[in-house]
Symmetry: D2
Subunit: 327 residues, 4 copies
């Protein structure tokens, strides 16, 4: 392996709070090791276009606490073609970039793995996605912030639900996984949680809601993952409304949507992002490539990119039971 002197860092896929803290850690750790750092703007799209910016210690001052990503993110169809990736490799070589740190999710790492196979530029990934659905790390950068934002909004909805004895279906993010929904359900004291990982039995749900609402004439909140196989909060609301038994129930839908994605990262996301960004640079320097850095049981751990996107991280079924016990 050639010596690494100059690394490129980029963010890709949906933005997640903590991405900036991660960029900062990559840049500062690299500088502490006398490396040069180049910021690649707009992910793979910017890589193909050579949209590069030199980074020094000052360029990442005061970004730790910012949501979003100062390097921006974008989708790139061109990078899905061999020609696009060849162009990207050429741009990196022209700019003297020896190695890469990729901050993103599933799709980012699929691209990274193919790119490494073809062009042999060492690449290490950092898990940056609010969905927490990546194998190889207990938590992804952005997950903790997204949960807290969602829960703060559900707390507000609870005030209204209680004031009016209403039923609210609150849809949270999670296209393929119920991590956000499950934790938000417990954290907001939701009466029920519907996630893609479990079968949503609409008749059973109706029964349980009716029993909750009639017995106590109180409010109920059902947290629904957007990717629930039954079809999300809007679909469930429609099913409930078609049932005459729900005629008297004041039912509302609230889709939290993009409010969950941005915002200043929580303490935990800042620390996690700092650790992972720093570890990614160390991993590159130790000769690793084609791996993602993660935190497993409190320790930094490297996982082959291939495993990250081919294996499935499972939810904690103890938490699922807890929602039923406490809701």
């Amino acid at each position: 392996m050639e010596e690494i002197r100059r690394i490129g860092v980029f963010t890709s896929g949906g933005d997640a709070p903590g991405m900036n803290a991660c960029i900062r850690a990559v840049v500062r750790t690299a500088i502490a090791h006398d490396l040069e750092v180049v910021g690649i703007r707009r992910g793979y799209a910017g890589m193909i276009e050579g949209d590069f910016v030199e980074m020094d210690g000052r360029s990442v001052s005061n970004i730790l606490q910012l949501g979003g990503t100062i390097l921006k993110s974008a989708r790139s169809k061109a990078f899905m073609t061999p020609e696009g990736r060849a162009k990207a490799a050429e741009q990196l070589r022209k700019a003297g970039i020896d190695a890469l740190v990729a901050i993103g999710g599933d799709g980012t790492f699929r691209g990274a793995a193919v790119f490494y196979e073809e062009h042999h530029i060492p690449i290490v990934g950092c898990p940056g996605t609010i969905d927490n659905d990546l194998f190889g790390t207990d938590e992804t950068i952005g997950f903790d912030t997204a949960m807290n934002t969602a829960i703060q909004n559900i707390d507000r909805i609870r005030d209204t639900a209680d004031a009016h004895d209403r039923l609210f279906l609150v849809e949270v993010m999670g296209r393929d996984a119920g991590f956000i929904a499950l934790n938000c359900g417990i954290g907001s004291g939701a009466e029920m949680v519907l996630i893609p990982e479990t079968f949503t039995d609409i008749e059973e749900i109706k029964e349980r809601i009716l029993s909750l609402m009639s017995a106590q004439s109180r409010s109920s909140i059902v947290v629904v993952a957007e990717g629930d196989e039954h079809g999300g909060a809007t679909q469930i609301a429609q099913d409930l409304r078609e049932d005459p038994a729900f005629a008297k129930i004041d039912l509302r839908v609230c889709i939290l949507g993009h409010t969950q994605r941005g915002g200043s990262p929580t303490a935990r996301d800042r620390v996690l992002a700092s650790r992972l960004g720093s570890a990614a640079v160390e991993a590159l320097l130790q000769g690793h490539t084609n791996v993602m850095v993660g935190v497993v049981n409190g320790e930094i751990k490297l996982t082959p990119l291939k495993h990250v996107y081919s294996r499935k991280k499972t939810i904690d079924y103890e938490l699922l039971k807890l929602t039923q016990l406490l809701g």
Copy 2:
């Protein structure tokens, strides 16, 4: 007028942050004047049913900072009938309630005015609604909190908009008025604000968005009041998407919905609610009835209920100009 010895307090219409602070001020001020206080639960519906609870100084401890309303709120069709109102008056008389403080909005005060005409129980209103659309007060209880909540969520959306160079249409509350939208637009640095009070010229909007997005390849946020006469954010998004010029623009809709309604009240809403709740009791004791207490130019002012719901509070056109200047 008979002497007032025992007053009832209730919240009605949509809940608003600060309603609890207002209840607390009513109860504590009444007690300081040696009055008894009864909480009427679920607004006019509870009044008809006699759903009453005795209140003392301790019963309002530690509620100042809570969103929603501990007395709950509800709609009542029965109260729209003379029979319903007669029943309510009977319940009040049975419980020895001499006078009322009503915390709510437009609809609450229409009901209150009719009720007073028919049953002569003195009633004073406190403006509690997030919409700020009540004549007779510069600000309503809950407005400041709703704006801050909305702006915090729009700040988060801005992170994502910037990261991905996207256009977001963000819908905020305001069925009949643009107060929330206008202030949130300025406060979030929105590129455009669409409100019911002004004509929404879709062609002009398209032109301006295209010029903003192309010139600078940057993000844009358009804040839309739910009651915009053109039809809300979803309708506007549809119109934009039908135009081929928008094919390349990554456009998203986010409807803030019920996240704007609850939550711990801001400093301003707590102080406002405390002043108004206290002033309502003082007004009753001074023999006023059929009026709403408000704050106009920093001073407590009484306005006949009839004016509150028949006159229109206008937005500040200086603010509208400001959105165009700064956006």
Copy 3:
């Protein structure tokens, strides 16, 4: 008066949330009027040193929501001398700056007035200070945010006070004025508020606290303005502790200090800062100088700088009564 083509903007004195929103409004309004804008860094100190930076519309993107001031602030002893001011005027002339917008407080405006007398460079002030103690405006930029931050922290302290049945003395900012303390007292449901504007009778305070704590064995919070003439929270705590009657009371002091100064501005501060920054430029263009723009009863109003720092803004005694009634 000569035509204004190029204006300088600076922040001075203690930083306040909303200063950046104000800078943004100055810059964008100036550009809309085809003016050039120069940022003067570090207040009068930077003016003397010629620490200038050109500002365009993009240079104030995404600063609306940031606390602190991107132009920084500093104290300048040199500016208190005629020589210092002459040097500053020379720097401004060299840089082609025709007029100034000064964002700051009392001290800033004293300096500005003298400077204008001597050097005749038009100057308009914007009230930026968390203390709200400026004559000529109902509210200063930063006041609303500081109150909300303080109240959020006092809410947290209330949790602990309640859990342990403690007495907390919480000191908030306000060296000369009780605006923050008074509003925070009402907003946090404090049992007592001590401010510089009123005599602090320590024996009366003891009596009231003892009666509150013994009667109900409950928690109490006393909000103290740092500038209370009796000497702040630490002094009052010492006096209480010397009294044997307080031996059994678990008394704690918490000084909120600099946590109150920074942070993302509230909705209200953002709107206020935007209005005032814009109005300052308009005032300069209309030929005004040596005045401060303020908002009085909802309207923009100009007040001679001399009045701002020589007249006293008084607290609202209705609010003071309210703390006694509700606490």
Copy 4:
């Protein structure tokens, strides 16, 4: 072992956010197992006095999100004596309480262990303390919230530090341990972190601060744990000020104090508290006693109380290195 039919739950020691969520989980899990639950108010003090309250599912509604503890907490000297403990045991037997869940820290568990030795009433502990300094669990209830509160306040201080190029010494909680300081240091991008676990070399600190401040004329934040062996932020400030080299540096101290203790718990603390409260009841039902439930590497784990207070949990030295690398 006798069958458990009725359990008592109490909070003891300093309050921590999430204690209420934990109480709720204890009560609801117990009810799901057909147990009765008694709330013991004010910890061991209330146990001795028989200050008990029956709890049902409704009594813990809507407390999940509240800071502090609805059962209150207190210190008890009487419980440190055999007579006091005998009285407590008698009260429990009289009330028919078969087993206990104790939510608290170090001191709480020392008391619990002795109590069990003497009176054989089964007891299981839940780790509730913001300090995170308990052996047997990766995280304690309240730690995550305290960190987030501290970091939000440090973010605000950073605004002012940057605006004025100041040095701030910020003291955070942690009498014996640097967990809060270390994580807050990384999470706030502090330039330096001083904790009890490491030697504070004042000369080295001076040198590093001077080099940071002079090289870049920028702001610096030093996070100091209150229990730093050198003496806390006030002592360090004094040492720095005595050095003439610091004459020109604008140095401020801010002690976050009790603002760190209360507040609505974060998502993570709510989920943790729910899991632990539920697990404590399950552990009792499975016949465990004299143990604390904790979460270690994501799994519920039981640790003998004796180990909890006799063994030391060590900080993560990787994090310490990170503060030096990134600060």
